[in-house]
């Protein structure tokens, strides 16, 4: 197999790896950020209700 032909397979393999790993990493980081934000908001809401002296 020529280098040019093999290069297509090599490029395809690395493209699959890099795309999958980058997508997973970005998705995981965004999910942590979104959850952190949601936890912070809920905790603040609970604190606010607690300070107001009432429950839901």
């Amino acid at each position: 197999m020529s280098v040019e032909e093999a290069a297509k397979y090599v490029a395809a393999a690395y493209a699959v790896i890099l795309a999958a790993l980058a997508a997973w990493t970005i998705w995981s980081a965004r999910r942590v950020n979104a959850l952190q934000r949601e936890v912070r908001l809920l905790a603040e809401e609970i604190e606010r209700r607690g300070a107001g002296g009432g429950g839901a």
Partner: protein
């Protein structure tokens, strides 16, 4: 979750905005830092693989360059399943939900890396051997491992009780791990003529040129660091999800 404060109805201390369970994301050994170290190692290893390492004709010529990420990804997949195995044992011994979370995230990442091994292996196989797939020992045992660990998620989805789910998942991760050494030693257990994967590491050494071994080891380090970073990120995510469930439960009361 054991942290719920049923008696007082107060928000537990670690559910405050400052104490959200995100430990493991920041810091010099946190997820973000580990991912950065991994990117540096993987980029360096790849540059060396392309500009320093010679091309081995017997391994598919230029297509052999796939080897420098394919092998580290395979190693990382097996490490991930080993982490799930240890987490399973630790969960059964201590009944601590943290080990259940660790096992869950490790299996999830193990499957991600396994899927990448299969994909890159098929591409390399087509280039080097002329076939996308062949039923040889290493490929078959790896496929069995993938299917087994898919079953882990099916099991988790079918058990509602948290404690029972964690126990069954831990047992499953321990039993499924039997396939991992089989996968690793598959190339050594059968005669060389009946398989396509070469035996690279033997008792007498790796048989690899330094210019091949060094980039490979750097890529292995990078992939392991990436796994560690993603593992910490995943565990933090699962902890946050549980924290969120506790807070929502508290808010509804």
């Amino acid at each position: 979750m054991s942290d719920r404060d049923e008696r007082s109805g107060q928000v537990p201390a670690r559910a405050t905005p400052q104490a959200a369970p995100t430990a493991g994301v920041g810091g010099p050994l946190g997820a973000a830092a580990l991912v950065v170290y991994a990117i540096v190692a993987l980029t360096g290893g790849l540059l060396l693989a392309f500009w320093w390492a010679p091309t081995a004709d017997e391994m598919g010529g230029f297509a052999q360059k796939i080897f420098f990420y394919h092998v580290p990804i395979a190693e990382t997949a097996l490490v991930a399943f080993a982490v799930a195995f240890v987490a399973g044992i630790m969960y059964l011994a201590r009944r601590d939900a943290r080990y259940d979370r660790l096992g869950l995230v490790a299996v999830r990442l193990g499957l991600l890396f396994s899927a990448l091994v299969m994909a890159t292996g098929m591409i390399w196989g087509k280039a080097a051997w002329g076939v996308w797939w062949t039923w040889e020992p290493r490929l078959t045992t790896f496929l069995i491992a993938c299917l087994l660990y898919c079953g882990y998620f099916v099991l988790r989805a079918t058990v509602e009780d948290e404690s029972r789910r964690a126990t069954y998942a831990a047992l499953f991760a321990i039993i499924a791990f039997v396939d991992v050494p089989l996968t690793f030693f598959a190339t050594r257990l059968v005669p060389e003529g009946s398989q396509l994967h070469p035996v690279v590491v033997t008792t007498t050494g790796t048989g690899m040129d330094t210019a091949v071994l060094v980039p490979l080891l750097i890529c292995m380090l990078g992939m392991t660091l990436l796994f560690a970073g993603l593992l910490r990120l995943g565990v933090a995510t699962e902890a946050l999800r549980e924290e969120l469930a506790v807070l929502k439960d508290r808010l509804e009361r």
